[in-house]
Symmetry: C2
């Protein structure tokens, strides 16, 4: 249903064995990319997914490790013959930053649209409902929650009982209210149950832990969160540069009651993130260290 791929899991600088952190989401032929550091296009090529369906790019902030791959990514998107618009969303200043970078990609076969955030914001795009929320870094930075909503169940027995003509069923399912030629009105709430649990993925980096993250990540199926350092003695460094420790990410995952936690945005000094996962799992058992190309397919819950 919703495919999620952590294309890279590095922070600060790309390494020969670790791409910079970025996330791709695939749903219904329309892809979303969050962050695009140097090498993201290569990570995507390695994964084997096409760049062409990427129509929405979300940026957390404008530090180079989150956006330096943009010109190359857009040129490759152009080479893949995308002509449909690309919407970019990010902190204030987005338009200026992107236009500056486009000096080396001046001709693209698709238009770019910009949406600059000013505070927590919800918007929809191609079947996705997205919430941008402020996090706490040393420059303006946002996290994102991506939701695939699921309508209530259509009650066919009830529709029959109410003698709703068959041709109306599909229209009611899509949320339309219909008045027939006799003046009789049928509304979706007559036959549609309460909204069912959808799919939710949340993403937060680079930041100190905050309540706003916990609130927005609440009950995510998958929470992808910065874990800059595993070594507990690096807490002061994390505080100084506004990053999140492994154990702090675990504590947020627990409070937000998420389904699963993946850590990412590892410091280049951190060779083996797995070493620190035992302690993470003491706080939040369903936690994994991110890895380049780590993928999950998320589906709606099965019903009895």
């Amino acid at each position: 249903m919703l495919d999620v791929c952590l294309l890279g899991c590095g922070g600060m600088m790309p390494l020969p064995y670790r791409y910079l952190t970025s996330l791709m989401l695939r749903y219904n032929g329309n892809n979303v990319l969050i962050d695009c550091g140097e090498g993201t296009q290569v990570a995507l090529k390695k994964k084997g997914w096409s760049p062409k369906p990427v129509g929405l790019m979300l940026f957390t902030h404008f530090h180079a490790d989150h956006i330096s791959g943009l010109p190359g990514f857009l040129l490759t998107l152009g080479n893949a013959e995308r002509t449909e618009p690309v919407l970019m969303v990010g902190p204030k200043g987005l338009t200026k930053v992107v236009k500056s970078l486009l000096i080396i990609a001046p001709e693209l076969p698709f238009p770019i649209r910009y949406k600059e955030l000013s505070g927590d914001t919800e918007f929809s795009w191609e079947g996705y409902r997205i919430t941008a929320f402020r996090v706490q870094h040393n420059i303006t930075c946002y996290g994102y929650s991506i939701n695939i909503d699921r309508a209530g169940k259509f009650d066919a027995a009830k529709a029959k009982e109410l003698n709703i003509p068959l041709p109306f069923w599909n229209r009611l399912q899509k949320g339309e209210t219909i008045t027939d030629e006799k003046g009789q009105t049928f509304s979706p709430d007559m036959v549609i149950g309460p909204p069912r649990k959808g799919i939710k993925v949340s993403y937060a980096t680079d930041t100190r832990p905050t309540n706003n993250i916990i609130e927005h990540a609440s009950h995510s199926d998958l929470f992808i969160c910065e874990g800059m350092y595993g070594e507990e003695e690096k807490l002061d460094k994390a505080k100084e540069n506004k990053h999140t420790m492994f154990l702090e990410a675990a504590a947020m995952a627990k409070q937000a009651e998420v389904g699963e936690l993946w850590l990412t945005h590892f410091s280049p000094s951190l060779n083996n993130p797995k070493e620190y996962m035992a302690k993470v799992r003491e706080i939040f058992p369903k936690a994994e260290a991110g890895k380049d190309g780590k993928t999950k397919e998320l589906s709606f819950e099965k019903e009895e």
Copy 2:
């Protein structure tokens, strides 16, 4: 003496198995980088060479595959604690392009200096003598020749014969003309033989073959030249987009009477450049297909 490393050998876009074309030269603790596409800093890290001694960056032109890695490279140079200036050399417009890209690398601990070329130009930097020469691409583009010159041999027997005092020898060797207290003048030509053969490396991409390239590459020890396509049927494409074919590079190497030819800047469509090397070697036998990390140490000729 002079170490040369072809950090990557790809053109157009970086691939999981091929970095974008760039060249690093190491001489006497001062390094030169030619071109810096997306991923060049990773290729350098993989090679194991430090970025810190890079004080001169030469750009052939401003297509993204030759400069998109610049912001990340400079940030990594800053993290390596470089504080000495970095000189950048490239076509007109260089200052504007670099300053635009620096929007995502606004604070660097070293100053950047700019030298914009207007036509073939010779200049010196830290023991290197460099010639920039125009090539023929669809935007302004330069090739570069890098020379390490070698002075003539000091003739100790002659210095003794002429009764030149010993403390003057070293100064004469360095090119100084000296007048002693008796008014007697000693000049280098009295004891220094004619200049000896130095080391010369030439680099040309992206371009159609031209006489100017052949003249400037003349008698290079190593000529690193674009070979965009090996397949002969792609000649029209090469002509249209102003690139060089494998066989055309070989013909230039032959005419320029270079010591050795390395091909680079392979099209992403070219999976196995080695396949086409037999025909290349029919024209110019000392030819090799470039490879990421391909390295050579060039020394002055041994004397009897």
